[in-house]
Symmetry: C2
């Protein structure tokens, strides 16, 4: 069935900033033979504090860049805010399949939860959209959402402790935040989760699953896992989106060997170096290059500046 002569497709990955590099990292681990074009709309971040109208306009311009200028044949919207508020607008604006991160996150929560009650933490705009609650409800789950606006700046400040397990050796100098700083982040997480769990209890919910509804949060996963009650499962929407992308693209690309020939679990850290990744940003290339490696788990290399006119 395989057709080695077929060129690998380009998968466009879009985020308002570079947090979506955690989604790209998961995509690369699952599809090491695809080509990737990542755009961070850093000139206009954060989307999380902006209105639906503004977010949709920015996201559509970014999606069009990836499809028209970079030839992306598939798009992954690696931004919870844009997935929540602009997925329809993007799907209407480009002629390629578009996958967000909300539906996969809700589906993974459904697979993980036994009680049917889940918690979601995200940015303010994602929570205000209630997109996770709606997607969870469609899966038969009850969800309570909470905005945690301090977590993104804490991640970007590097007050996160050690990074996710597979890549701690890379960028370890940034990951080695001092104990006082990590204690602050742990305390902020505890305050947010205590408030959320108390709210769930007051409503008679019995949550057993927590969805990380922001692409920055995978870098906090070790601290979050320490803070949740014993037995609560933590769902990473970046990883869930990557798995959903594999299903979507595999069905459409059965002749193209973009997937690992080994099992997905066998795809390790080194495969990322063999993958073609081009990164674009609308501003702050220096910051993207400096901080992005923590999210990608690998140096992002040269980031190309693009002007979307906004």
């Amino acid at each position: 069935m395989s057709s080695p002569a077929t060129a690998p497709p380009t998968i466009g990955v879009f985020d308002s900033g570079f947090g979506g590099l955690t989604v790209l990292r998961a995509l690369v681990a699952h599809m090491p033979r695809a080509r990737f074009a990542f755009l961070g709309d850093t000139a206009r971040l954060p989307y999380g504090s902006k209105s639906r109208r503004t977010i949709a306009r920015y996201a559509v311009e970014s999606a069009q860049f990836l499809v028209r200028e970079q030839g992306a044949e598939f798009l992954v919207i690696a931004c919870n805010t844009a997935s929540a508020l602009a997925l329809d607008a993007i799907q209407n604006a480009v002629p390629v399949p578009v996958l967000g991160v909300i539906e996969p996150g809700a589906a993974a929560a459904h697979a993980a939860s036994r009680s049917g009650d889940v918690l979601v933490i995200a940015t303010d705009a994602t929570v205000q959209s209630h997109a996770y609650a709606a997607a969870c409800h469609a899966q038969g789950l009850r969800a309570i959402e909470k905005a945690c606006p301090l977590l993104v700046p804490l991640v970007e400040e590097g007050w996160t402790g050690s990074g996710p397990a597979p890549f701690t050796a890379i960028g370890a100098e940034q990951a080695a935040a001092a104990p006082l700083q990590v204690a602050v982040t742990a305390e902020v997480i505890r305050i947010y989760l205590d408030e959320l769990i108390a709210e769930a209890a007051a409503l008679g919910h019995r949550p057993d699953t927590l969805v990380l509804g922001c692409t920055h949060y995978p870098l906090l996963r070790p601290l979050i896992e320490k803070a949740v009650p014993l037995g609560m499962k933590v769902i990473d929407s970046a990883e869930a989106a990557a798995q959903a992308a594999v299903h979507l693209f595999n069905g459409r690309l059965s002749g193209c060997p973009i997937l690992s020939t080994s099992s997905v679990e066998g795809v390790g850290e080194n495969s990322i170096t063999a993958t073609e990744i081009r990164c674009f940003a609308t501003d702050s290339v220096e910051k993207f290059e400096r901080l992005g490696s923590r999210f990608l788990g690998h140096p992002v290399g040269t980031v190309e500046l693009v002007d979307l006119g906004g």
Copy 2:
């Protein structure tokens, strides 16, 4: 000398968000009879993470709106980042006097410091511009600057304890953050200041003055004053800019009674209700209206949405 028939001038006040309302608040206290037009470029905030080129373009468009559309005869750039990176560009783009917040802050530090060594805390972009260091150097001071990226989100999350003294009764419901949250903010401030003071000591500096180089920071002033070493003076650049504006405008407007007839110290909370203030935002009017009152110390009323096309 006075000419009561002269219409009061409109003073345009510009910020990337609504933090500049702390500057507006200080301006109103000093010039209760002026008219004010405040623009928060909320669709494109935060400027602090963007490049000089982008910041200059946004700031010029905002300044032109205030002068051309609102008839502002003077501009106060109530945004440290724009003052640091775009003051020249704005002054070249509009035909009215333009005052930033950096020079007044440095002048106030010069008046306060005996040792000649000062500390400055600000956003990342303001620090990277070294505009405060340059302005302090021009005053014969030595300055060490530190970026404190977590302080703005902590203020916007409301983890600030009680507000500034004159206005605690207004918006007290937002100001009453729980002790755990305020303790986190106090700890973040302590971490930042300890690092900054250690850096100053390592360089042989003997700082006796701390400049708050961000318009959000006045809301943290009580916590910051508790955290600084005994005897260190805290300079609020919002208040310093308002005092500089009085000097500038008074010299040019000797016939126009915009200043309080009583002493400046006699201008109290109530005078703000008699002042004509129009607030504009490029996005997120709801958030502006909800959070802005904490900064202005008074309800901001209806915020008008404007589209600067960006």
